[in-house]
Symmetry: C2
Subunit: 78 residues, 2 copies
Protein backbone atom coordinates (compact mmCIF):
# COMPACT_ATOMS: atom_id res chain seq x y z
CA UNK A 1 0.00 0.00 0.00
CA UNK A 2 1.51 3.33 -1.05
CA UNK A 3 2.27 5.62 1.90
CA UNK A 4 0.19 8.42 0.28
CA UNK A 5 -2.83 6.10 0.47
CA UNK A 6 -2.07 5.14 4.07
CA UNK A 7 -1.79 8.82 4.98
CA UNK A 8 -4.96 9.72 3.06
CA UNK A 9 -7.01 6.99 4.76
CA UNK A 10 -5.75 7.96 8.23
CA UNK A 11 -6.34 11.67 7.55
CA UNK A 12 -9.96 11.05 6.44
CA UNK A 13 -10.66 8.67 9.34
CA UNK A 14 -9.20 10.98 12.01
CA UNK A 15 -10.83 14.11 10.53
CA UNK A 16 -14.24 12.41 10.51
CA UNK A 17 -13.69 11.09 14.02
CA UNK A 18 -13.21 14.71 15.15
CA UNK A 19 -16.30 15.81 13.23
CA UNK A 20 -14.34 18.31 11.17
CA UNK A 21 -15.03 19.20 7.55
CA UNK A 22 -12.13 19.35 5.09
CA UNK A 23 -12.56 23.12 5.08
CA UNK A 24 -12.37 23.41 8.90
CA UNK A 25 -9.29 21.17 9.15
CA UNK A 26 -7.60 22.93 6.21
CA UNK A 27 -8.13 26.26 7.96
CA UNK A 28 -6.85 25.01 11.33
CA UNK A 29 -3.77 23.44 9.72
CA UNK A 30 -3.09 26.46 7.45
CA UNK A 31 -3.29 24.49 4.21
CA UNK A 32 -5.52 25.31 1.24
CA UNK A 33 -8.84 23.48 0.92
CA UNK A 34 -7.87 22.10 -2.47
CA UNK A 35 -4.54 20.77 -1.14
CA UNK A 36 -6.44 19.17 1.74
CA UNK A 37 -8.79 17.43 -0.69
CA UNK A 38 -5.87 16.23 -2.83
CA UNK A 39 -4.07 14.88 0.26
CA UNK A 40 -7.19 12.88 1.14
CA UNK A 41 -7.19 11.44 -2.40
CA UNK A 42 -3.60 10.29 -1.93
CA UNK A 43 -2.37 12.57 -4.71
CA UNK A 44 0.53 14.21 -2.87
CA UNK A 45 3.48 13.19 -0.72
CA UNK A 46 2.91 15.52 2.26
CA UNK A 47 6.03 16.80 4.00
CA UNK A 48 6.80 16.68 7.74
CA UNK A 49 5.75 20.29 8.36
CA UNK A 50 2.28 19.68 6.84
CA UNK A 51 2.02 16.33 8.67
CA UNK A 52 2.91 18.09 11.91
CA UNK A 53 0.35 20.88 11.43
CA UNK A 54 -2.41 18.40 10.55
CA UNK A 55 -1.57 16.23 13.58
CA UNK A 56 -1.65 19.32 15.82
CA UNK A 57 -5.02 20.41 14.40
CA UNK A 58 -6.42 16.89 14.86
CA UNK A 59 -4.81 16.64 18.33
CA UNK A 60 -3.22 13.30 17.45
CA UNK A 61 0.41 12.12 17.35
CA UNK A 62 2.05 12.61 13.93
CA UNK A 63 2.82 8.87 13.88
CA UNK A 64 -0.94 8.18 13.99
CA UNK A 65 -1.19 9.62 10.47
CA UNK A 66 1.30 7.05 9.12
CA UNK A 67 -0.01 3.95 10.90
CA UNK A 68 -0.60 1.00 8.59
CA UNK A 69 -4.19 -0.30 8.54
CA UNK A 70 -4.21 -3.49 10.68
CA UNK A 71 -3.06 -6.53 8.76
CA UNK A 72 -1.21 -4.42 6.18
CA UNK A 73 2.55 -4.29 5.81
CA UNK A 74 4.30 -1.39 4.00
CA UNK A 75 4.52 -2.31 0.33
CA UNK A 76 8.05 -3.56 0.14
CA UNK A 77 8.35 -5.72 3.21
CA UNK A 78 5.90 -8.58 2.48
CA UNK B 1 9.88 19.38 19.96
CA UNK B 2 9.96 20.16 16.22
CA UNK B 3 8.93 17.19 14.06
CA UNK B 4 12.19 17.50 12.09
CA UNK B 5 14.08 16.84 15.34
CA UNK B 6 11.81 13.92 16.24
CA UNK B 7 12.38 12.43 12.79
CA UNK B 8 16.15 13.07 12.94
CA UNK B 9 16.50 11.39 16.36
CA UNK B 10 14.44 8.35 15.27
CA UNK B 11 16.36 8.06 11.98
CA UNK B 12 19.74 8.11 13.76
CA UNK B 13 18.61 5.67 16.47
CA UNK B 14 17.06 3.17 14.00
CA UNK B 15 19.99 3.41 11.58
CA UNK B 16 22.50 2.72 14.37
CA UNK B 17 20.34 -0.11 15.68
CA UNK B 18 20.62 -1.74 12.23
CA UNK B 19 24.36 -1.13 12.17
CA UNK B 20 24.15 0.90 8.96
CA UNK B 21 26.34 3.88 8.10
CA UNK B 22 24.71 7.04 6.72
CA UNK B 23 26.26 6.15 3.37
CA UNK B 24 24.81 2.61 3.35
CA UNK B 25 21.32 3.77 4.34
CA UNK B 26 21.42 6.68 1.86
CA UNK B 27 22.30 4.22 -0.91
CA UNK B 28 19.58 1.74 0.08
CA UNK B 29 16.95 4.49 0.30
CA UNK B 30 18.10 6.20 -2.92
CA UNK B 31 18.83 9.54 -1.29
CA UNK B 32 22.11 11.47 -1.50
CA UNK B 33 24.58 11.10 1.38
CA UNK B 34 24.51 14.83 2.04
CA UNK B 35 20.70 14.89 2.19
CA UNK B 36 20.85 11.94 4.59
CA UNK B 37 23.25 13.82 6.84
CA UNK B 38 21.07 16.97 6.76
CA UNK B 39 17.96 14.91 7.61
CA UNK B 40 19.79 13.53 10.66
CA UNK B 41 20.60 17.11 11.71
CA UNK B 42 16.91 18.02 11.51
CA UNK B 43 17.54 20.52 8.74
CA UNK B 44 14.84 19.37 6.32
CA UNK B 45 11.15 18.47 6.38
CA UNK B 46 11.29 15.08 4.66
CA UNK B 47 8.31 14.16 2.50
CA UNK B 48 6.26 10.96 2.63
CA UNK B 49 8.09 9.32 -0.30
CA UNK B 50 11.50 9.78 1.40
CA UNK B 51 10.03 8.68 4.75
CA UNK B 52 8.62 5.58 3.04
CA UNK B 53 11.92 4.68 1.33
CA UNK B 54 13.91 5.14 4.57
CA UNK B 55 11.39 3.02 6.52
CA UNK B 56 11.62 0.30 3.86
CA UNK B 57 15.44 0.36 3.94
CA UNK B 58 15.42 0.20 7.75
CA UNK B 59 12.68 -2.49 7.70
CA UNK B 60 10.56 -0.51 10.16
CA UNK B 61 7.04 0.94 9.93
CA UNK B 62 6.97 4.53 8.61
CA UNK B 63 5.16 5.56 11.81
CA UNK B 64 8.22 4.44 13.81
CA UNK B 65 10.14 7.36 12.28
CA UNK B 66 7.64 9.88 13.68
CA UNK B 67 7.19 8.44 17.17
CA UNK B 68 7.64 11.00 19.92
CA UNK B 69 10.40 10.18 22.41
CA UNK B 70 8.69 8.82 25.57
CA UNK B 71 7.43 11.55 27.84
CA UNK B 72 7.34 14.10 25.01
CA UNK B 73 4.21 15.60 23.52
CA UNK B 74 4.25 17.26 20.05
CA UNK B 75 5.09 20.93 20.57
CA UNK B 76 1.67 22.44 20.43
CA UNK B 77 -0.39 20.08 22.54
CA UNK B 78 1.18 20.52 26.02
Amino acid sequence: MDLRDVFAANLRRLRNAKGLSQEELAHQASVSRSYMSQLEKGEFYASLNVIGRLADALKVEPADLLKMPSGHKSKSRN
